[in-house]
Amino acid sequence: MKKSLFITGATGYIGTRLLKKINLDQYENIFCLGRKDNDVINSLSEYNNFKFIKADLSDQASYAQYLNSSDAVLHLAALTGKARPEEYFRVNSRGTEILLEQCKRSNIKHFIFVSSIAADFKDIEGYYYAHSKIAAEKIIEAGGLTYTIVRPTMVIGENSPILESLLKLAKAPVVPIFGNGRTKVQPVYIDDIVGCILSIIDNSLFQNQTLTIAGPEQITIEGFIRRLHEASYRKKLRMLHLPVRSIAKILLFLEKFLLKFLPFTAGQLASFTNDGIADRNPCFEGRGLKSTSMNEMLALAVRPEKGAVRNESDLMAECELFTNYLIGRSPDEYIQAKYLQGHAAANLEKDAGLLDAILIRTANSNSFFLKLADVYTSIFYRNAVLRKKLLLMLAILECCKATYHEVDKVSNSSGIIFGIRLFQKAFIFLLSLFISIIIFSPFRLYDARTKGPRASAELWTKS
């Protein structure tokens, strides 16, 4: 018999992903509680067995009738990120209590609560989120309903909140590592979490149990940040270890007055001091569920920065910009496809150094900066990856029926007009050269210096 499922926090990160993956046909009804809708909710609303209830957890009256017709509840709603202690407890602990009471009245058969690995942390001084989750877990355990508590480790997926925060760190010029960096993490891919949760609901698994869901590999937090750095940006990684306890104490003090202005809270540093791992990973054992490897999840979730190995849409945008720059018109689909193919075939970014990355990033901003970078590389760095890219673009354009005329044409203008154009081009070239020297030379010198004397010599001889 098909079940009816009631979901809270359906518009949060895990909820949204779960709704994208869920097969509505397998359920009698799906009721979603949330304070605001989103695209996924809107797209599902056309199904008869899907209902979105716009309300707060505390507003029992608005959702009680739907709980009455539900078999299972998936409780995802939670307050995360930066907030005051009382807010955490109001939403995460008290909110859970209210929901649970209503669930009891509605005779819910299975209550699934998505908690956090933080509830298992040993050192949670000032980490109110963890405290509020622990409180909620206790309420559920004592509540008398059949429950399953799920504790995901670090959830990695496209734009997952923790990934976004760590990427900000990983891309900093100097990456701060709080503590010795040897704390272990075991990141898990978002779709694997979703798969586990759905499997638990569908098969009524792990009743009255608390289980951790983790990815297949453990790694130190420093190692993981290093991997994120490699996956996102190929700049040389510089790390700075900071004393985590002193910083946490300072933050804890400042939070009382300046919470809004702090980049992060003392509690959020807990991941640097507590191992976030699972000794056992029972959800994946013998159930044939996919457990995505770290390489795979990074490839799926981390969008490389411009200047590093980049994805298709970046290269398409680059192709658009380059074609417009070189011949003043947009590329068609064929040209874009060929640019992607040629870019991969010539493996253009394989030798990109810091200066290359900066030139590519700058050039990709707009045609003005592209011109500066083009002029600079034509004089000082003729083997630049950017120049190779532009040449590849040119090589493609000269082969295509739509564009070959544009790359090889005589200016059909009279002598005087031609002379003015020539003068104008010479002037723009010299001006661009002047500006580009000011912009790019410091990076060139820095790049040469950090590569050591030999590399430096090579760099200069390149031009």
Binding site: G342, S378, L391, I428
Partner: protein, 536 residues
């Protein structure tokens, strides 16, 4: 009648084969024989081709973008398009190493002349001085080959350098830039002749300027570089097709010839060839063996045969090749003119510079820039690429390349030999070359004349941009088993019959005792016909 086994299908092999087939011999030709891909959209000109092709980038740059030339492209740039890659493809059985020499090899049907630029120049008496025959003796065969392949030329100032023979068609319509150069020369020729010994005229090319038999005349489609779409431009595979019409002709492809076996009387009994596909060894009985695999490969077969029989690794000395220099130039009068891509692409103008010794005259060909890929050229400008495109568009029709050729003589330090594995299981071709002392001064002198003469013609020649091609790049290899009146080891008779093995003939460049500064292909073909007519 005797059976003849020919190794190779290049320019000299096919003309030798056709001649002996006409005489009634039975011919077997062993060849690796990679085939030319199908000609796409044969009716279209170069611009229409871009519109006709489904995937023009694949056609012009290659499946793996191998014809995309990045700024750090290190290798010698030949400009061969992707559809001609088959010409340079090597079977896995073949290996080589070289010093001072960058050789090209072909295992394709038709050989290296499938990617030639069609220059066909007869040698004059002084250039044939070291050969055991005169121009007069070779003339009938020049005439015969000219008739077979279809070539054109003009009776102009270049007669000083290129002797006249029969069966030359009237020249092709010159492109505008070439005719500008020729008319500038006509006005300044007295000065140029007297001051620099510089002469200019039409080059002789193996292209039909009017329909002949079943071949159509050049349509000026601008596709020369990517392979003539209608067969107006001659390549040896055309003659190979003609040979295949003879029932007495057996063409065995997919065979890499390793060596021949011979008996105590130095009589060759069979040839051993490996299947390119499965490496199985095949033995072909020999009555008369004709090596025409190109100087390097014919020498390799000879060396390996001796090594297999005696264990001795010998050196074949006297390897020659033409030094070439490529010099770009800019014709000031052509700046801002429209570039017509649909015209004949290869050289239409030739020039010669006289030297004290007439054997050492310097020859050059002038190719005006038309439909070749432009990104390799645009990137050489010291300007950003956007401005370079603007500049190139206005300079395109004014640009050209001069190809300067220098003669070579047989010297002992230049040789072909074998590299042998420790366990004697594998051999590889070994080529060693050292340029002659004083070469640099000769090249500089020639460049100086070219610079001044072209300036007189209204062209700027940036000598600093000249590219001295590595030895081996001109692919005019010759001289390792030269024709010699004396019956010494590793030489051949006037009829290119080996002095070491009585039933072995070489009809490629192997037997040339001297290499003038000219394309040797026409003379190789004529010589092959001569040997077929006179020796057999």
């Amino acid at each position: 009648m005797d059976q003849i086994l020919i190794v190779g299908s290049g320019a000299s092999a096919v003309h030798f084969a056709l001649t002996v087939l006409k005489k009634g011999y039975e011919v077997t030709m062993l060849d690796v024989g990679y085939e030319r891909p199908e000609v796409l959209c044969p009716e279209k000109n170069i611009d229409e081709l871009k519109e006709c092709l489904k995937d023009p980038v694949d056609y012009f740059l290659g499946e793996n973008f191998e014809s995309f030339i990045p700024p750090d492209y290190g290798a010698e740039y030949y400009g061969f398009p992707p559809n001609k890659n088959y010409v340079l493809h090597k079977p896995r059985q073949f290996d080589f190493s070289s010093s001072g020499f960058a050789p090209l090899f072909s295992f394709a049907q038709g050989g290296l002349a499938e990617v030639w630029t069609g220059g066909v120049y007869a040698l004059n008496d002084s250039e044939l001085d070291d050969f055991p025959f005169s121009f007069k003796e070779l003339l009938p065969y020049y005439n015969e080959v000219a008739e077979r392949i279809g070539m054109n030329g003009a009776k102009d100032d270049m007669l000083t350098f290129f002797p006249w023979h029969e069966n030359l068609m009237e020249p092709l319509n010159p492109d505008y830039h070439s005719s500008m150069l020729l008319s500038s020369y006509a006005r300044k020729k007295n000065y140029l002749n007297n001051k620099f010994g510089f002469y200019m005229g039409r080059s002789r090319v193996a292209t039909l300027s009017h329909d002949r038999n079943d071949r159509k005349a050049c349509t000026y489609s601008g596709r020369c570089l990517w392979g003539c779409p209608n067969g107006a431009f001659y390549t040896p595979s055309l003659t190979l097709q003609e040979c295949k019409k003879y029932s007495a002709f057996k063409y065995v492809s997919g065979m890499y010839v390793s060596y021949f076996k011979y008996n105590k009387q130095n009589h060759i009994t069979s040839v051993m060839a490996e299947s390119v596909q499965d490496s199985t060894l095949h033995e072909f009985p020999v009555n008369k063996l004709v090596l025409a695999a190109g100087t390097a490969s014919s020498s390799k077969i000879f060396l390996e045969s001796v090594f297999r029989k005696t264990g001795e690794v010998i050196k074949l000395t006297g390897l020659m090749d033409n030094r070439q220099i490529l010099v770009p130039f800019l014709n000031l009068k052509m700046i801002g003119k429209e570039c017509k891509r649909d015209s004949y692409q290869y050289h239409q103008v030739a020039f010669g510079i006289k030297t004290a010794d007439s054997r050492e005259h310097i020859h050059g060909q002038v190719t005006t820039l038309k439909s070749a890929l432009i990104h390799p050229i645009i990137q050489s400008f010291t300007l950003d690429l956007k401005t370079s495109i603007f500049a190139f568009g206005n300079l395109h029709s004014a640009l050209g390349v001069i190809n300067l050729n220098f003669h070579d003589v047989r010297r002992d330090e230049n040789y072909i030999s074998l590299n042998v594995d420790r366990d004697f299981s594998r051999t590889a071709l070994l080529i060693n070359y050292k340029p002659v002392d004083g070469e640099k001064a000769v090249m500089e002198g020639a460049m100086n004349v070219v610079k001044k003469a072209f300036l007189k013609l209204g062209c700027i020649v940036p000598v600093k941009m000249a590219h001295i091609r590595p030895m081996g790049a001109s692919v005019h290899y010759a001289g390792t088993i030269p024709m010699s009146e004396e019956k010494t080891a590793f030489t051949a008779s006037k009829y290119c019959q080996s002095h070491d093995f009585n039933n072995l003939y070489f009809v490629d460049g192997t037997t040339f005792p001297f290499l003038p500064a000219k394309q040797l292909t026409l003379t190789m073909m004529a010589n092959a016909v001569r040997v077929a007519e006179e020796a057999l």
